[in-house]
């Protein structure tokens, strides 16, 4: 990938809009840059001799930070001892920290970061994990401050945040390593044992003298023992815990088969009678572990993406004491009644009441409502919401751990634990199956004991081996793994594999609005002109003013040729005011107008007004835009009952619902209302698919039978959802639904085959016609057929 379009920034790939071009020499040629930020980053990279980054990268970089020096100032907060205690491991001589790094897009970024930081004196070790977007850094504190490390990253265009793995993730990590070790051991040992076994197989036709044969048996025994004891341990543990719960699961039959086969083979080795099947034990454990590991890893990847929540809860707060002195403190140490100050653009660290100041607050991450909310003295604000304008003095109402964000998190966890366990066919089938097999084995054993006592044990073992539920236990995981891999290719990340079992039964689909069906970005849908104003001019003037604003609505006003407006100031809670050709120009809600031209402020008037001089010249209707393929998605799912639950106002919600043809709309829904709605549906026996994105959707996503977090969903939503849509193609949701149906058929086919095979082989084994090596071949063959059938899902 190199830059083919000369109108795009060479560094970040974004189009160069403002007409102003910046230049940087990269790889021996001057390259166009879109902004001073990108230019600075590119120059920093080149001057450090890291040009190769541009040669080998496969994705564009993030846009550079234009306000680099200001950003660097705010980083100083990370040098506080108290903050560092949270993330930094100090072993006396060195400190270690894990950083989440935003902006890593390909492997070249990892290399760039490592090279850049290794040049910095004081850094001892750095390891960048590209897929997890994280870096682990060891440094010497006396030589280098943490803020300087993060500053170094900023200078080459990456944003870093301290990171602390949450409990779930840490345990995933540990489990992953465990799996790898078990698989590695089983794999290496299996190779050895198979080698010896091939020798022994040929011994059947040729001749191996007895002493050699016995030696090979003992070596196989020796090599198999660690595999059975160590690699197979996961199965025994799971079998044991299911036994303690008073039921039998798949691992119970697997364990019996492994231990039974192993003990029988060991006995055969010691007593020189009967056959041995050490190689089958090894292969069985190896193959089964691989399928388990693949399933585990796809879940693990999802957890990596969703783990970082630090964006929502700021670390520090500016506390004001009685003498009006401001000190920076840790947000989680704030107590009820303390006073803090929150400046424009900052995130509220805790819940509180405004005691001084007014301005607009973006609460969309809590309520899902896309419009800003005006707050003044006496109003409540919530931790995690964003202060858009105005400076607030706040009295803390709730400590961080009691704040609304944390309450929602807890709600979600509760819903998660409530979640109905998907009935996995394999488990039910194998439960009956294993009970039947165990019963038959016991009866045959007793029968043979009366008839030919010396053969009884071997017949029993051969029944267990021949009917070993390998195929049965592979039936579900292989089909699921193939499906998950296929879904991954379509940008769908499946976190809980068992949802594929539930998906085909879904009869109700619930959509969130903002961010799910709509972009969550504003655009001008309609403009009304007053006093003979010219439409193009009006747009340019508005764009010129809004250039100075960071408010979400300001993105709606963009123009190639914005008018030059000077002396622009923010009028808190109202809009912007500036000077254009020595005339006062104002843009904002109705309250900013000097003379409202007879316009009466109404509750629902969300329009944006533009005034030039003394005259009102335009009123813009600003709307959220429906996503391109939202209509396609809704039409695809029309066979099910469709509902839209939105936190937004009635007008906005029903407009979107009507345009998409969603019959049932509920507006101004709080997270709790949404949750109750879904629980009511579930109580009536409906199976619910929820598609959402916001933090406010998190509990609902967790409660729904199947949930999908779409697009740029919040981390919290991703944590709760069963499936995460990584790209913005909504239409892929339909693919997930059809895939689920295919998987269910596949699993059924596998089951029928596995059970059919077992039913066929069982009478032969019971009658004693089955020699052990036949049982082994039959067992492997039935497994191979099942795996091959499942792999067809990948096509």
């Amino acid at each position: 990938m190199q830059n083919s379009n000369s109108q795009n920034c060479y560094h970040c790939g974004l189009p160069i809009i403002n007409g102003e071009v910046f230049w940087a020499d990269i790889l021996g040629e001057p390259r166009k840059m879109c902004c001073p930020g990108c230019q600075a980053v590119a120059e920093a990279i080149v001057s450090n001799g890291l040009e190769d980054y541009y040669r080998f990268r496969t994705e564009f970089a993030d846009k550079g930070d234009e306000l680099l020096t200001e950003t660097l100032d705010t980083l100083k907060a990370y040098d506080h001892e108290e903050i560092q205690q949270e993330f930094v491991v100090d072993d006396g001589s060195q400190k270690q920290i894990q950083l989440t790094i935003e902006g890593i897009s390909c492997a070249a970024c990892g290399w760039l970061i490592e090279k850049q930081l290794l040049k910095t004196p004081g850094i001892k070790r750095i390891a960048v994990n590209v897929s997890a977007r994280r870096a682990t850094i060891n440094w010497i504190d006396s030589e280098l401050k943490l803020s300087e490390i993060i500053g170094q990253l900023e200078s080459i265009g990456y944003h870093a945040l301290p990171f602390q793995a949450d409990e779930h993730e840490a345990s995933y990590q540990k489990e992953s390593k465990n799996y790898l070790k078990r698989i590695g051991l089983a794999g290496l040992m299996s190779m050895q044992v198979m080698m010896l076994a091939i020798g022994l197989y040929f011994g059947i036709f040729g001749s191996i003298d007895d002493a050699t044969k016995e030696f090979l048996h003992w070596v196989s025994f020796l090599l198999t023992t660690p595999v059975v004891l160590y690699s197979g341990f996961t199965f025994y543990k799971s079998a044991f815990s299911s036994l303690r719960m008073g039921s039998v699961n798949m691992d119970f039959s697997v364990s019996i088969a492994i231990i039974g086969t192993f003990v029988a083979s060991a006995w055969a080795t010691i007593s020189h009678t009967g056959e041995i099947y050490f190689e089958s034990v090894c292969m069985f454990i190896f193959l089964l572990l691989i399928s388990r590991f693949l399933e585990h890893r796809s879940r693990h990847q999802a957890s990596l993406i969703s783990a970082n929540m630090f964006k929502y809860i700021p670390l520090t707060a500016m506390q004001i004491d009685d003498d009006n002195k401001q000190t920076s403190v840790l947000a989680k140490h704030l107590k009820k009644g303390q006073k803090i100050v929150v400046r424009p653009g900052e995130t509220f660290p805790v819940d509180g009441v405004i005691i001084n100041g007014n301005g607009n607050v973006d609460e969309s991450m809590l309520t899902g409502e896309s419009e800003k909310i005006r707050k003044s003295t006496g109003a409540h604000v919530y931790g995690g919401t964003i202060n858009l304008s105005g400076s607030f003095e706040i009295e803390v109402e709730n400590e961080l751990k009691l704040s609304l964000v944390n309450k929602i998190l807890r709600l979600q966890e509760l819903a998660l634990s409530d979640k109905p366990k998907a009935a996995v066919y394999a488990d039910i089938a194998s439960k009956y199956f294993i009970v039947i097999v165990l019963g038959i084995t016991l009866i045959s054993y007793v029968g043979w004991l009366a008839y030919q006592p010396e053969r009884a044990f071997w017949v029993a073992i051969s029944i267990l081996v021949a009917t070993c539920p390998c195929a049965l236990s592979l039936a579900t995981p292989t089909a699921l793994t193939s499906a998950i891999a296929k879904l991954n290719q379509y940008g769908l990340l499946v976190k809980r594999a068992n949802i594929i079992d539930v998906m085909p039964d879904v009869d109700t689909v619930i959509f969130d609005k903002t961010g799910t069906l709509t972009n969550g970005h504003f655009s001008v849908s309609d403009v009304e002109l007053f006093n003979a104003a010219d439409e193009t001019f009006v747009y340019n003037l508005a764009a010129g003013l809004e250039l100075y604003s960071k408010h979400p609505i300001s993105h709606a006003f963009q123009s190639q040729t914005p008018c030059a407006v000077s002396q622009v100031v923010t009028v808190a809670g109202k809009g912007l005011q500036g000077t254009y050709q020595s005339q006062v120009v104002k843009i904002g809600n109705i309250s900013i107008l000097d003379n409202s031209d007879g316009l009466r402020p109404t509750e629902d008037d969300s329009r944006v007004y533009l005034q030039l001089g003394n005259q009102l010249i335009a009123a813009f209707s600003v709307k959220d835009v429906v996503k391109k393929d939202a209509k396609q998605l809704v039409d695809d799912l029309r066979s099910k009952q469709l509902v839209m639950l939105s936190g937004d106002s009635e007008i906005n919600a029903s407009l979107v619902a009507d345009s998409l043809g969603i019959p049932n709309v509920y507006f101004r829904q709080t997270p709790i209302q949404k949750l109750t709605y879904i629980q009511n549906l579930q109580a009536k026996g409906h199976k619910v698919l929820m598609i959402g994105d916001g933090i406010n959707d998190a509990p609902v996503l967790a409660a729904a039978d199947v949930s999908i977090a779409v697009g740029d969903a919040s981390d919290m939503a991703k944590r709760s959802a069963d499936i995460i849509l990584l790209n913005s193609k909504l239409s892929n949701v339909k693919f997930a639904v059809s895939m689920a149906i295919k998987v269910r058929t596949k699993i059924k086919q596998n089951m029928v085959w596995a059970i059919g095979y077992n039913a066929l082989i069982l009478p032969l084994a019971v009658a004693g016609y089955l020699s052990p090596w036949m049982a082994v071949i039959g067992m492997s063959l039935s497994s191979i057929i099942v795996v091959a059938n499942s792999i067809r899902l990948l096509r």
Binding site: N129, V130, A132, K181, L185, L188, T212
Partner: protein, 61 residues
């Protein structure tokens, strides 16, 4: 045939060694990011040379 009484134990020792190395590799997180390590071969050596030759200034700081 008696040679196998020597060769097989040697094979076992080698396998144990391999398992040891594998466990060490897992323990030191070498399997965490497989994507990135593949790219390392594209970069390292020649770049280091270039930095030394072309950019003595940055080292002086």
């Amino acid at each position: 045939m008696s040679i196998i009484y020597v060769l097989i134990p040697i094979a076992i020792v080698l396998v144990l060694l391999a398992i040891g190395i594998f466990f060490w590799a897992v323990k030191s997180n070498q399997f965490e990011d497989l994507e990135r390590q593949g790219y390392n071969i594209l970069f390292d050596d020649d770049v280091d040379k270039k930095v030394q030759v072309k950019k003595p200034k940055t080292n002086d700081k």
